[in-house]
Structure formats: C-alpha cells, structure tokens
C-alpha cells in the first residue's frame, strides 16, 4: 500500500493537467483547489457553485474523503495562493453545463455533476484508460432533455480527465492485487441497461457511479429528538431543496418541509411503532418484520430516509421485493426506529442483507452489531448461509469485519484443535468466502510445514480479551435466539410473478 499523500504528481499520467493561479471569478465547476478543512489544506474539487446573499458559495468534494463529507463552503476557505487544477478543457458541453448551472443555480442542485473520480477506470492501468477513451464516449448518449445532457457530460468528463493523480495511486495499489481485482470486481463498465436489469431482478445497491454522484439535496432533517445532517442525496420531493429543515415523523417517517404541517401531522398520526409484526423482543430492543408490498408507503419513507445515509442504495425500483427488519427501542412514547436492514424475499445471490443502516443519531453504540447478529440469526433459522449485498460502504465493511472477527475468534477459542472453513461457516451462517476473508484479514491463515493451519494470533486473542473486559464493564448487548418468534416467510410462484 503506497502512501496516500503523493497525489500531486502529474508525472506519468498521459495527459498533463493544466494548472495555474485562479481568482474567485475564474473558479469554475470542476476546478480543484486547496481548501481548508479542519485545520489542514486539502485538495478539493468544486462540484457546484451558487450565490447566497451576494456571496458565492461552493460545494466541494475533498479528495480521498468520503462523499458524506462534501460540503458548502464560503470563498474564504479556498486557498487561492496555491495553484489550482483546471478542469480538462476539451469538452465543449462542459462549458454549457457550467453556464446553465450558473444561470439557474437553485433548481439545479440535483444535476449530476462532474466528478473527478474516474471510477470506471480504476482497475485498468493508465494506458488502458486512455485507450478506452474513444470507445467509452458513446456509452452515455441517451440524450433526451436538458438534464440528460448533463448526465451525459458527467459520465464523459471523467473519461476525458483521466490524468488524475489518484488514479495513478490507485493503480499502484491495484497492481499488487491485479489478478484478484480483475476477477473479483464486477464488470466495471456497467451499462445503464445492465444496471437497470440487474436492479429489476434483484438487489438494492447500485454499482453505477453515475447513479450516486449527486450533490446532497437536503440541508438538515429533524427526526425525533435529533437534528441530523444528511450524508447523501435522496430523492425526496424536489421542492424540499429550498427547505432549511426537513421534518421526518419518527413513527410513520412521513416528511414535511415546514414545521407547521409537521406539527399538524403529529397531532393526527397514531402510529407508535413500525407497522408490522414484532418478531423479536428483549428488554433492550424489538425487531419488526415489514413487507415492502404490504407497507409500501412506510417502506418507501424508510428507503428515502436511509438513502440519506447510504451512498450506494438505489431507489430506482419499488420496495415490493424486500422485507424490512426494523430494530426499535421502546419507551412510553413508542418504539423508536434505531436501525434496520432490508432483505430480498428471494435472493439469487444468497444475500441475507440488502441494505443495513443504523440511523446516525444512534451510531457507535453497538446497534450495528445487533443488526448484523440478527441478520445471521434469521439465516440460521432459514438454514442458509448469508452474506451482505455488495458493495459495502466503509462503515459497513468495518462493522461486518468486527462482527465476523468476534464470532469466528470466539468459535475457535472454544478449545478445539481442528476446524474447517465450511464447518465454521455452517455454525455461524456465514459464507465460506466471508470466513476466509476474515481469517485472511486477521493473518490467521498460514502455511506451515506444507499445510495450511489456522493460527489464533496473540494479537487476536488479546483484542478479544480486551473486548470481553469492556463488555463486563459496560454490559453486553446480544440477540437471544430464544426470543425470536419467526418462521421464514414463504412466497409462492404467483407472488413472484405478480410483483411480490
């Protein structure tokens, strides 16, 4: 793994980046400049510009930071004393885009904007990228209305603006792993048609970057006792872009762009818990099972809400083929939704989780582990092995890795002298791939005396002991399988035919 901070070197990239000094007036969309972020200067790309109260503001994406940290900044945070990278100049459409957005800034937030990442090119070498260029151009030519054109632009710009420093860096990383990556990664070049077909038949995660590279459209949401900053775009009604705050009812998840109708709604809403059957209850949490087809409105509301925090979640298709397992804590006010995971009624790829989310206001309190544990408990009841749908988010990856590690290490530490991967999988409802992933990641799979062995490393054991000590102090939250009252739902061929 190479260092992360040598991203400036344009050397070796096929097309040199045009750099130079800029003034506020000459900053354009697509320009990369140094922006002050938490005390340090980071390179950031301007995704969007608008003028508020006579002052220009910029929507920027920090390189190497997750998109959830994209934000609106004032001009004074941009360091104009350093050179900026100009966007690749060769596309005439881009200027048009730029113009139109400047003229109608307030309505165009949703526009799919140019992103610096050439996501489709990451698995290739720089040479391959440039070779690909002409071939890829016609891919996004489903031109229709005005917005379409802009989509077209965004999907082409990355191709054109290939010589991104981070590309090179990624290549370095990838080269170590080139074989595996080539096999592991799904076809990088998802055509729109492929993508939609895939979504139609299964899945809730988009593989397509054009689907997700959007400017965040909501400023803030109010839900229950909290105000939450959204992380990503979510297709709430388009009128909401102007709202300072979107109010979400904690129980029915209905949304309002003003406090008056929200208060009126609260005076009428009688829902006190997720609208489904409670299938699990202990003294800490309850789980409710909700059928997307039967509770369409609620599940749509839930998806809209969770899309604010899940980058790859797609709302392209309706919620019918999913079941939603919602975790809630209880008090006299009702059952407060804490997190949920959705699950395909029938997953062709054996996923036991489609999307999984702990609401931001409840994060880092161990709820995620309960959700994951519950999803595996369901798989055990079904007698199946399960794995979460990919791609995982960064938080998802960390959450799952921690869970897998804990479960597998616990299992191996029960004094056994032998274990095989499949048995571990069967005992934990985890796929063998995930078991291997965990063991490999923890450096527990070794080759000794001409055979493979599983090593309980000192580090792993120590980590587990520390965790246990912590649990003793804080108390351990876990799912009790005996409290689950659930039979795997059965869906007939007819329901499959008739859209679940």
């Amino acid at each position: 793994m190479g260092g992360r901070d040598n991203s400036e070197g344009p050397a070796g990239t096929p097309v040199p980046v045009e750099t130079g000094f800029a003034t506020l007036a000459t900053l354009r969309i697509g320009t990369k400049a140094y922006v002050e972020k938490e005390g340090e200067k980071r390179k950031a790309e301007i995704l969007h510009m608008r003028t508020r109260r006579g002052k220009p503001t910029f929507y920027v994406h920090y390189e190497e930071f997750n998109k959830r940290l994209d934000e609106w900044i004032d001009a004074d945070r941009i360091d104009l004393s350093r050179e900026v990278e100009w966007p690749a100049p060769e596309k005439p459409e881009k200027k048009k885009t730029q113009g139109s957005q400047k003229q109608a800034p307030s309505k165009s937030d949703q526009k799919n904007l140019k992103r610096s990442k050439s996501n489709r090119d990451i698995s290739g070498t720089p040479e391959a990228t440039s070779v690909n260029l002409p071939g890829k151009a016609p891919r996004a030519t489903k031109a229709g209305g005005k917005e379409n054109k802009e989509v077209l632009v965004t999907s082409e710009v990355p191709d054109g603006a290939t010589p991104k420093p981070e590309d090179e860096e990624m290549d370095v990383v990838d080269l170590q792993d080139a074989n595996a990556a080539a096999k592991a990664a799904p076809p990088e070049h998802y055509s729109r048609e492929d993508e939609i077909e895939k979504l139609r038949t299964s899945g809730s995660m988009t593989q397509n970057q054009t689907e997700i590279s959007r400017v965040r459209n909501l400023e803030k949401i109010q839900m229950g006792k909290y105000e939450i900053e959204p992380w990503y775009f979510s297709p709430y009604p388009i009128d909401f872009v102007d709202a300072d705050m979107v109010y979400v009812c904690e129980f029915c998840l209905s949304y309002f762009d003003d406090v008056t109708p929200f208060e009126r709604h609260r005076s009428k809403c009688t829902l006190l818990h997720p609208p489904g059957n409670e299938i699990y209850r202990d003294d800490y949490v309850s789980f409710f099972e909700i059928d997307g087809r039967r509770q369409r409105t609620w599940c749509r509301n839930l998806c809209l809400l969770s899309k604010l925090f899940l980058d790859h979640k797609t709302l392209y298709y309706d919620v019918d083929p999913f079941l939603f397992y919602c975790m809630a804590t209880r008090d006299e006010h009702g059952c407060h939704l804490v997190g949920y995971f959705s699950k395909e009624k029938e997953s062709a790829e054996g996923y036991n989780v489609a999307c999984i989310l702990t609401l931001p206001q409840y994060q880092r309190r161990g709820f995620g582990k309960l959700l994951i544990d519950f999803s595996y408990l369901l798989s055990k009841r079904e007698g199946k092995l399960g794995s979460p749908e990919k791609p995982l988010s960064d938080l998802g990856l960390l959450g799952y890795r921690a869970y897998w590690q804990e479960i597998i290490v616990d299992l191996l530490m029960d004094g056994r002298v032998e274990a095989n991967i499949e048995d571990i999988g069967a005992a934990t409802a985890m796929t063998t791939a995930d078991v291997l992933h965990t063991l490999g990641n923890l450096n527990m799979l070794r080759y000794s005396k001409n055979q493979h062995v599983i090593v309980l490393t000192d580090a792993v054991i120590e980590q587990r002991e520390r965790q246990k000590a912590k649990e003793k102090v804080k108390g351990k939250r876990s799912i009790d399988p005996d409290r689950l009252q659930w039979k795997p739902p059965v869906f007939s061929a007819a329901s499959r035919t008739w859209n679940w």
Binding site: Q176, N277, D320, H333, L397, V417, E418, N420, V455, N499
Partner: protein, 570 residues
C-alpha cells in the same frame, strides 16, 4: 461478488474449505515460516467496498491501524468521521405524547400508514393564517376548525388529482367549484361542506401559486417521459410484471377464483348480517320480557292494593302451557299402536320435559317393544286360562301353547282332522317367527288344554314325518289366498304310464325329497314293514301281521284314504 474469486484464489493454493485445519496458537507455530505462500495468502483480501471508495483516507487509516494491531501493535481509537446529529430544539414531549403501552405479547400489526395518519393534508402556515382570518369574520357558532379545513383541502386535492392527474404537465384549467360540489362524497363531512366554498378560493390561489401542482410535496414517480430514466428524483418505479402466458384457461381460472372469493365474501357478510339480526331480535325479546314482568308485578301490586284475592296463576300465563304440548308429541306411541297395551311411555314422562330434547336410543325402543309384546302374550295366556277354568281338555294333545318346536324344515304346520278340514290356518308370518320361538318356551309350563275339533299339534310319533299330510294357507299378491298341501298322495293307478307319471313330476312345489314314486319297494316304509314282518313273524306271526297292517292302514287312510297294498311282501 467476492465469493467466486476468493475461492478461486485460495484453491490455487490448494486450500480446501472442507479439509480440517489445525488450530494453533502463535507460539506453537514456527515463526520463520513467513514464506511466499503465507504472505500471499494474507496480503490482500477483497473488502467488498467499491474500488474507488476503498482508498478513502479514513477507511484506509483504520484498516492500516487494524492491520498494525493484528501485527502486534496497538490499535488507535479511530473512527470514520460522519456529519453530526445533534439534539433538536423542538419540544419532543409535545410532539410525541406518551401514549405507548407495550402489550404482553409480541405486536401483530397490519394497518398501513394511510390508516394511521388521518387526513393526509396538513396545514401550512399560509393555511393557518387563512383559517384565522376566516374565523375572525365569522360568528362563534360557525368557526372552521383546523380539522375541517384540512378535510376540505384534502378533498380538493384528491379530487383534482383523480380528475386531472396531469394538471401540472398539461396546463389544464383549474376545476371550477361546481365540479367539486357535485361530487361531494363521504370523505367530506356535512359540517365541513359549509366551508367548502370559501376554502375553495384559498385552495385555488394556493394551487395557482404552485403552478397547479399538488400542494403536498410529492415524490416523483415515472410519468413515462423520456427524461424519467435519468432523473434522479424519479424513484420507486414499478418492476415490469414478468409476462405470463395469457390463455383462455388462465383467464377462466382467474375469473372463477374471483367469483368464488366474491361469493364467499357475500356469504360471510350475509352470515354476519343474520347474526346481527338475531342479536337484535334477542334484545327486543328481552325487552319485551322485561316489560311483561314489570307489568305483571304492577298487576300484582294493584291486586294487592285492591285486595283482590285470586289466582296469581294468571300472572304466570306463559309458564303454564309449557309442559302440555310435549305430552302430545310423543312420537313412539303413534308408531306403536298395539291394542290394549298399557301406554307406559306416557307414564314414563310425568315430568313433562320436552320430548325432542331427549335422545331416543334404538336399543331402548326395541327393548320396549319386546316388553310390550311379551306383556301382551302374557295377558292373553291369562285370559285363556280363565276361559278354560272348569273345562277339561279332551283333545288328544292339548291346545297350543305349548306349541311344538317349530320345525326347522319349514313353516308348515301339520294338521290333523277328526272330521272335515276347514280353511287351513294362516301360515306363520316371517317376521313373527322369531317372536313365536320366544313365546313357545314360557308357555310350555302352562297346563295342557283341551280344545275343539281342530288341533294344531305334533303328529303321533308312530307316523313318519314324510307321510303326514300338511297344509298351509298363504295370502299372495292381490289378496289371493292359496292353500298349499304336502304329503297328500294321489290315487295310485295300477299301471302308471311313464309319460303320465312325468306329468305330475312338477305338479307340487316340492323338493326332491318329496318326489313321488308310484311304487317304491325300497321305500322306508316298506323296508320297515318287511323288517317288522320278519322279526315278529316267527313268534306271533298272525298278531303282528294284523297290527302292522292296521297301523299302516290307519296311516294311509289318514293321509289320503289311499291304501297302499302291503301285499307281495310275503
């Protein structure tokens, strides 16, 4: 997506997932084995994270920190920074009252959001201002409440949505108030309708301000426009239904199913309606009963006041007739019309309980019937004895009963006549046969009786059974009376022609043992006769001969008067 590839990668190293691997501690393993294979095994693992995001700063920081810690180092308390969630300034307690009580059992719930949120339209601040303004001008009695306002607004919104679903797109004119008024339905209450006209103006203004789009912000669904596909706001598209082959059979099947469901629904509804009706009637009846009771007690009071003495029975009118009809309706007596029989069953139910409330058992019924018949016979026997007191039975054998054991052979009764034979008695009916058997046994003890000229009795022992003449009277179809005879010998002709003999072959309804041979010298009778002659001939030759002859004569005469020639025997 990692499944396949990682498996492959490990297979290349010949790691079998089925094979048992030794679980070791770090100190149990040679630390110098850091060979190429191990390094490759653990170096890079698919994360399942989008490639572009895998390299993100914070994630990488944590991953490398963890890698460091698994290598023995200490993990720093790192986390991925996320945008804030802070406490809200809104008054939570006001917005979310404490209404929830947890049921003991797990919650089962199927109502939808639409069921639970009431009127979908929620007032905006503009609306609130309008209502306030509106109410100012009105008197206290006709104030428009927020609920009523929302009800009306909701009605306008919904109606215009159904009537002009594409109002925002095709620039159609606003629906005039009259159109709404004509369509008022149950979703809008009478009290709210009073305000409809005034609110309409407000609604119209709001709509116009909004470009005739719905006032409640809505999600963008697919409109089948070209731009749908790339519009990020268009969401929750319908998945195209998988095409099912459409056949007439399937159509019919579906129709049938729907019809059936409909029918069942109707039936259930009808049932419920009937139940409801029944319950209402019951209620009415209870009311009437109560009224009657009250009025009676009133009457009682009045009688007491006026000191009228007399039956209080009349106050209990509807309690008296209860036992009466039951006695009449005993079905068994109707069926069992045995004359002279004591109507036991009547006595058996003095309590006057409802007859049809009792379960009637077959065994009971049969036992009762048998009792009745026994009793009847017993009684007749007593009568007989009474009649016969002072009389001496001069008959050869006393009158039946006791009768002879019913001959297993047939139901024929032998008849002996001292003079002319009248019409033979009716043969025993088949259903009576069993009873007769039963009756025979007890009646044997009864003293023998004499009777008149005709007796129905066992024939003398000395006459062989086959030789006895027997008669039987039968009643056939259409009331014909038939007399059967048996053992009646015809006149034997000197020379019976074969042909003539053949004519009689089937004249009787006899079976083969009754076959008539004109002369059969091997016949039992004749053999016996000859034996007798032989035995006695030596001592009392003459006497025996005379006796034997007499006996045979006697027998033959009593049968048909036809004398068989015992000659040739010598």
């Amino acid at each position: 997506m990692t499944t396949r590839s990682s498996g492959q990668r490990f297979r290349q190293r010949k790691l079998s997932t089925k094979q048992n691997l030794a679980v070791l501690r770090e100190n149990e393993i040679d630390s110098v084995v850091d060979d190429e294979a191990t390094r490759h095994l653990t170096q890079k693992v698919e994360t399942g994270v989008e490639k572009a995001e895998e390299t993100e700063h914070h994630l990488q920081a944590i991953i490398s920190a963890q890698a460091a810690s698994t290598g023995g180092g200490k993990a720093a308390a790192l986390y991925i920074p996320t945008p804030d969630a802070i406490a809200s300034k809104l008054q939570y307690e006001d917005l979310y009252p404490r209404h929830f009580t947890q049921p003991a059992t797990y919650i089962r719930f199927s109502s939808t959001v639409e069921d639970m949120v009431g009127v979908a339209y929620c007032m905006t601040s503009d609306d609130a201002a309008f209502v306030k303004d509106f109410n100012k001008k009105k008197s206290k009695s006709v104030q428009c409440t927020e609920d009523q306002f929302e009800e009306v607004m909701n009605y306008f919104e919904e109606t215009s949505h159904t009537k002009q679903p594409y109002a925002a797109v095709d620039n159609s004119a606003m629906l005039p108030y009259e159109d709404f008024e004509a369509d008022f339905d149950e979703t809008i209450s009478e009290t709210s309708r009073r305000f409809a006209k005034a609110i309409y103006e407000h609604w119209k203004n709001q709509r116009l301000l909004n470009g005739n789009r719905p006032l409640i912000p809505t999600l963008k669904f697919e409109m089948n426009l070209e731009t749908d596909d790339s519009d990020p706001y268009v969401c929750f598209r319908r998945r195209e239904v998988r095409q099912v082959r459409k056949t007439r059979g399937r159509d019919a099947q579906v129709t049938e199913k729907l019809k059936k469901l409909r029918k069942e629904l109707e039936e259930a509804r009808f049932l419920m309606a009937q139940v409801k009706r029944r319950e209402l009637l019951t209620r009415d009846q209870l009311g009437v009963d109560k009224l009657i009771f009250q009025q009676r007690s009133d009457v009682k009071e009045i009688k007491r006041k006026l000191s009228i003495k007399g039956d209080d029975e009349e106050l209990l009118i509807n309690q008296r007739p209860v036992p009466k009809p039951k006695l009449k309706v005993d079905p068994r007596e109707v069926r069992q019309g045995i004359p002279g029989m004591v109507p036991k069953s009547q006595l058996a139910r003095p309590d006057g309980r409802l007859v049809d409330s009792d379960l009637v058992y077959l065994e009971e019924q049969q036992a009762k019937r048998a009792d009745a018949i026994d009793g009847f016979i017993e009684e007749n026997l007593m009568k007989h004895q009474k009649w016969n007191i002072g009389w001496v039975d001069q008959t050869w054998r006393p009158i039946t009963p006791p009768l002879e054991q019913a001959a297993a052979k047939s139901n024929f009764r032998p008849v002996f006549t001292s003079s002319q034979l009248p019409t033979p008695p009716a043969s025993v009916s088949s259903d009576g046969a069993v009873d007769q058997m039963d009756v025979d046994q007890p009646s044997k003890q009864i003293e023998p009786r004499r009777s008149a000229r005709i007796r129905y009795a066992t024939p003398p022992d000395d006459v062989p059974f086959q030789e006895q003449s027997r008669f039987r009277r039968r009643t056939g179809r259409g009331g014909r009376v038939m007399v059967d005879r048996r053992g009646v010998k015809r006149q034997k002709l000197e020379s019976i022609d074969e042909r003539i003999a053949d004519r009689y072959k089937f004249s009787g309804d006899s079976s083969e043992d009754e076959e008539i041979y004109p002369v059969d010298w091997t016949d039992n009778l004749h053999i016996r006769y000859r034996i007798m002659i032989e035995r006695q001939g030596e001592k009392q030759h003459a006497q025996a001969a005379v006796q034997g002859r007499r006996s045979i004569d006697n027998h033959n005469r009593s049968g048909s008067g036809h004398l068989l020639p015992p000659s040739n025997a010598g």
